[in-house]
Symmetry: D2
Subunit: 416 residues, 4 copies
């Protein structure tokens, strides 16, 4: 007889896998194929790659004489696991029209069937349970990527296609306040019972000098003040690498913004809409977040400051559930920190480095996180396209400081 | 009552337009979208652009209060007509998922209906007749491009998708012979009654010293001898710009070839197949054609030498009809020149320059041909993917000397 | 006893070699080293490469047990002769500080001494005479290049260094007239007794339709009219590749021009000076020459039209002698064609292709000219930095159509 | 009467300024000019830029009606101070032949004279003293850069020029040992009386878990073991960005190494020499240091671990004095840490970020350090080309992780 854990895992497997397909259900076939830049991927590729993950790291190992759906997929849908073979070049994912969307769904179905059987027959194995858990967390990350990438790809189309019609303007915003936090020799990192990635533990001591943290992220309206004050024209606000980007890429506003007849619009998953002035600013790079903070006479928090503050205080956020963004109808007045989860990922000033004594996963899955620990910065929280069950206080998201296609904003900090 | 000319034009219009759609009928929706390099286009784009051509250059002008199917298409599906507005960047055609294929077909249908009406009501107007003729010739060029581009795009897929299953190995090949031709003060260029492009006339005098021309193109087998003799390693065979390309692009054989266990294969529209040793070598650049000729102690013909020779001698060729390649079952023994039309376009040593006293078309259609008269070389004949009715002795095709995705081969020439 | 030919050759050798050194005598040591773009070379490199030419193609062959000055120089100072070994990368010539200028002069001296001895002992050998002649013509080409390259390199310095103080404003300019020329079956190409390059012969028949040729090149003043009329903004004047260049390189005027407070200045070898409005426009690309001609309702001449017209008519020109530009004090009124030699090289509309039945030089010197016969256009005449004795009616200079650092202008032509 | 501080500063000024000129005294004029990559600069530029620094930040401010030596130099010799005007593009420093070396020395002399006068008349001003101190520290940094850049530039010359003949092979090397260090809540950062940069303070608390640190850097011999074990071929040792670099740049060994007939050589300031197997490996990127550490089952230390260990233990090092490298004749047996200063800069695993509560310098000098705090890693110690008086325990050097032209090595660390 199966244990509750085993049954839960089977349910969880089905739920997560189904959700990926639900997420893309209103895409046209053509929308599944393209890739507007090397760092984004076609939706079809995401659906296939998350499937490859189960095939490569579980079925190959635990199903005797496992027959691959297609041997070439091992190459085509490997993302970056160099230790299992040179992957198909990332920049060419958008050139591969076959397998078609239908064939990709066929591939998913075949793997899901085999996974289901495996979970029934061997679901009690701890190692399989752990790998399935990673596979599902992995798929949830790609669910967020699917939406980021669709938005990015669609944004190149002068017809401004809308992915959904699900808009939620922010009717108000709390006044900006800074919470004082004592710090001291505190602890950060995960040590609970549930799942965490290998970059979130071990929980460990760190020293924080007394600091202050803003009660909410910077809003679009506030960011416009920065722009209007010549924020993008004054080198003194900018990191050197950021200033170079501003010039190379002709940055003058967050990604997806455009001005029409004196008014700001933003391209969203619901098409081109008037900018929501109360919403947290989104799609800014680390450089822009950092420049804003300097201009405002503040700074960004470290990831430790952010995590410690949010751990010990009441908070308020917005989430996506069942594939749709579910905003709170109002701010809770008693919350100290607003919108820390579920609106925008928040840039911290912490480069993405290993935690003391952390150990990457064994084998090829060790490539999952550890090898990216250079040149990237940590973001905390979670965005409106992050599945709710994927959000975690100790979660460490990371992006290169010039990237802007993720739903990234920031909140200010200061010394005391 | 309509004249025969008018009725013919209507029929011709329908036939050519239908053929484009027939050509892509076995593509999957996904195949219509991608673009593996800036110089190729998605099939969907070709279908829309050829439609735009009729809308832009005929309907806009002759239909009062013409309502565009979609105003944005004027921008999206302009290829390179700078004088009617800056076109959508060529390199981004493969990022545009909407309009979908179905919507594109809708666009075609709408324009075809309006065109049909116009041809009934105003089909007697000489100017309309001429523009329709150009529009159809234009569409035929894109029919060839559709097949070139599908082959190119598919070739990036390690699954080697097949577009059709229509292979025709060449069972034999005539011995290589050189026909002696006297030359003198001859004439080249079009002066018939029918259609020709503005780069083919006026017919004019040119002086040719006595020369020789090969009876058939160089074959794959012959080209392998060049490779085996170190053809790609010896700088003395190569033009300087070609030698640079060989190194930059790591050329060691024609495009689409690959060697597996000592044997040559070629990616074709019918998938990966053993190289047909008797077939004319195809998908070579001008540089490779020229290098082979030097290695062989010969040279390429000029376009004038080619045209004059072919005009005055019996010849033999293979064609595509109704969208399928229709090879002759045998070489005709009495023909002096084999396969001059319908197998491969043949590189000449003639840069693409204006004919003396030639006049580009008036207005924006003047951009059709004339502005490309630098840095390209003339190819004569026609290939196995050229619609038969599009083939003409005086036709001047042109490509940059490093391009290889067209079905291009060559035949040798020599002085007497 | 030595023949007059032999003595002349010795004198000629000394004269040409000395002149190279005289040419650079007012450079500072620092000026000899740099290279502002891959297509230009440091003056030091030119001095060494022309010396390498004699060492490589004459001394190595005719001096028994020849000891090289430095074996590494065979690599460092090879320009593009792939058949004698892979050359040092052209783009890195400006990184080589050693040999120093003094050591380079030492190298020249050593080779000159050995050459002098060889000319005394074996100067009667026809093969040596021919190779020395080529070596000297080659050195004269580099004398022109030295001045082109110094101008180019200096132009990157905001201090506007002056190479000399030798300015000659053009006080007047004849009215623009077009000479009518009948054409017919004419002959072009060299067949005299003296030296010519292997791209100038054999003399051969060509057919010219009746045409007209301007009596003088287009002037700076005339070119300003083109600019003022939006010449650089209207795509209809431009070849497609040229239009792309205009945008990529932000062209809005000839190279070296700049506007200060509404007035045009030009950077010259005499520093930044007010633009000489009567002088022929110089430092324009083929694309600009061609665009001007279209704008003016004319065209560029073919190289055959140019050569035939100049051969049969009186003409007038300016020259450089003894390293200094020696302008005529006035136009001769009886001349049909002015400034055809010695002011600016004149772009023709003829791509640089082999003459019928031409034969490249044997061996590695076959790389001298023939391998560049793709993607370049022929210029006729000679410029103010061309040594006078290097100018020849049948001379075919050639550059890529986007190059502008040569002293290149153009004259208009038209059909009759 | 002048105070000792004032006199000392004047002496110090002269000493440091003279030393820059002594350092380049055996360069040829040609060597001063070139720049083999955008990140290096010509020696001439360094001499001028350090002079500009005094002119811009001191003389302009404190000398009434100050007359610049040349107004254009304000643009030409600004490095990266965007707030005082857009600097001349870094990548073009090697194209500027004028001012000549002599004129540059003239410039130095003029500024030195004015500075001397100022120091006599206003040397008591605290602000001037502080700015002079920064200017001298700045010049010392450029003294190191001059040697790094000369080595880099010379390395492109196949003649392998030698800058000096001053070689010091390492006759022995202590056995590798790891010192155990307890850590805890410790302090790092500068709080002494003397000079420090604005990135070294304030001294602040940080928590260190118990760790171990190697007694000496990794040697060339040890690094060869990594290479021989396929270190550059196994992706599991590498950070993702590093692995990409390995492939893009074809890395297979540290910069300046080359293998001849099975033996390793290295290009050094004394020319090409056999690799000194006992010397610390140098000219490795962060990626290579990190990959070696993973391969060895260890890790790199954090900057805090490094500084804390070195602060509290005896140590041993080699230095450069008076422009020449002065190695110890032997290792001191009692030292816990060898060669921590004066051989190679040592990569740490710490990204270069601001210290808590640190404040950049006011005004434009705030651009000195702070704006580089992204994408770079901290190196500790000091190299054989760092002036001895410039070395400091709390010094934080920083480079991008892919840079290799600095004299950079590393020592291993581990958890306890």
């Amino acid at each position: 007889m199966q244990t509750t854990t085993e049954v839960n895992l089977q349910n969880q497997y089905q739920k997560v896998r189904n959700y990926s397909e639900k997420l893309v259900s209103n895409l046209k076939t053509e929308d599944f194929v393209v890739q507007a830049a090397p760092h984004v991927s076609p939706a079809k590729w995401h659906l296939a790659h998350t499937t490859w993950f189960f095939e490569k790291f579980i079925l190959e190992k635990f199903v005797p004489d496992y027959q691959h759906f297609n041997e070439e997929f091992l190459y085509l849908f490997n993302s970056y696991y160099e230790t299992v073979g040179t992957p198909h070049p990332q920049a060419r994912r958008g050139l591969i029209t076959r397998p078609t969307v239908d064939e990709t769904m066929e591939y998913r179905k075949r793997v899901d069937q085999t996974m289901s059987k495996l979970l029934v027959t061997h679901g009690e194995k701890k190692e399989i349970q752990e790998l399935v858990e990673i596979g599902l967390q992995h798929e949830q990350q790609h669910q967020e990527l699917i939406l980021m990438d669709i938005k990015y790809n669609f944004s190149f189309n002068p017809l401004y296609p809308a992915f959904h019609n699900n808009q939620h303007p922010h009717e108000s915003v709390p006044a900006l306040q800074f919470e004082k936090i004592d710090g001291g020799l505190v602890q950060v990192g995960y040590d609970g019972e549930g799942f965490c990635f290998d970059n979130e533990n071990p929980r460990h001591k760190t020293y924080l000098a007394p600091y202050q943290l803003a009660n909410r992220p910077v809003t679009n309206w506030e960011f416009i003040q920065f722009i209007n004050d010549g924020g993008y024209e004054h080198p003194e606000h900018w990191l050197s690498d950021g200033w170079q980007k501003v010039h190379q890429e002709h940055w003058g506003h967050p990604q997806y913004w455009e001005k029409q007849e004196g008014e700001w619009y933003s391209y969203t998953l619901a098409g081109l809409t008037k900018l929501d002035l109360n919403a947290p600013v989104s799609h800014v790079s680390y450089y822009e977040a950092d420049a804003y903070a300097r201009w405002a006479g503040k700074r960004l928090p470290t990831e430790q400051e952010w995590e410690y503050a949010l751990e010990t205080h009441t908070l308020d956020g917005h989430f996506m559930e069942d594939g749709y963004y579910q905003p709170h109808s109002h701010y809770s007045e008693e919350a100290a920190f607003h919108k820390a989860f579920g609106d925008v990922w928040e840039w911290t000033q912490s480069p993405y480095v290993p935690y003391p004594r952390s150990k990457p996963l064994a084998g090829s899955l060790g490539e999952y996180n550890a090898k990216f620990m250079a040149n990237q910065f940590v973001l905390k929280g979670g965005s409106c396209v992050t599945p709710r069950s994927h959000i975690r206080l100790t979660y460490r998201n990371f992006f290169y400081p010039d990237m802007r296609w993720q739903f990234s904003g920031f909140r200010l900090a200061d010394d005391q």
